[in-house]
Symmetry: C2
Subunit: 152 residues, 2 copies
DNA sequence: ATGCCTTCGTTAGCATAGCTAACGACTCGT
DNA sequence: ACGAGTCGTTAGCTATGCTAACGAAGGCAT
């Protein structure tokens, strides 16, 4: 192997790059799980709540699609958020089948606090990064989000 | 909010960047889950197998630490890999408490095939990316892996 | 050499989060 | 008005994470 491939290896081969991004995603999430527990909001809950807070009222199906999860999974997720008083559910006035999910003021507060606590560790380490490396990550973030989105 | 912040927002604020990286990691993994199922190897199994294949024989505890998971979780993970014939477990000759985990030839084959299948979708999309964007991701991958590692 | 303390891996039991299948309620087009 | 399609839920399964508790093995001091 190359002498200093630990950090500097520049995976130009797409399949290798894909693999490394995938591996990095797994380990990054495991790394943050501890903070999740402390905040009382697990990763999926926090992620879903975030969409509800910033995405305004939306139907359960839309929320499930946004989170790339099947509807039953989102039903359960929303129920726990509702029981915690972070979101409300009300029937759509125009279509009785649909349910509109909206964040409560408390949900918005909790989200802000939870996000802060959860990303504190990561943010601290980002602050200690050299500016050029932080710059790279700053540009990579939108690309990663795009990669995670459905094909079109 | 800004009009076109969906993709182009350049999160310079560390806490915002941390949050976006976290969100991207969640969605990226959900995106790849379908391929996981098809390959018969879930994300944690594939990740652990990868460490065993490339990290040579190692103890269960070391593997758990490498995967940032508690020992009981790794015990179960290894058992399923062993039942699938992808790894072997043998007692450490020098220390009867420890167990050495090693990949079988079949494990190496399956890993290669599984990784290929799993990352195929992602790799295909990476190939379609403009060279400059792929370059950014190529440089970001090692940084992300470093971020996910324990402090020091 | 004996005993205590630590370390390793396992078992047991719990919570969460994903999925599919099946179903009732509702809408809509004909 | 009725049949087809859509929405959300329930039921039930699997996988993955955790902590607590335990037995087996090693290490060290006396």
């Amino acid at each position: 192997m190359a002498k200093d491939d630990t950090v500097s290896e520049r995976s130009d081969e797409p399949s290798v790059l894909a693999d490394r991004l995938h591996s990095a995603a797994i380990h990054l999430l495991r790394r943050l799980r501890a903070e999740d527990v402390a905040s009382g909001l697990t990763a999926p809950r926090l992620s879903a709540l975030s969409v509800v807070v910033f995405g305004g009222p939306l139907t359960l199906r839309a929320l499930a699609a946004a989170e790339q999860v099947q509807p039953p999974t989102m039903t359960r997720l929303v129920r726990t958020l509702e029981q915690a008083g972070l979101v409300t559910r009300r029937p759509d006035p125009g279509d009785g089948r649909q349910v509109l999910i909206e964040a409560t003021p408390e949900g918005r507060e909790i989200l802000a606090a939870g996000r802060a606590r959860r990303t504190a560790t990561l943010a601290r380490r980002l602050e200690n990064l050299p500016p050029d490396e932080r710059e790279i990550l700053g540009r990579a973030a939108p690309l990663l989000e795009r990669l995670a989105r459905p094909p079109d």
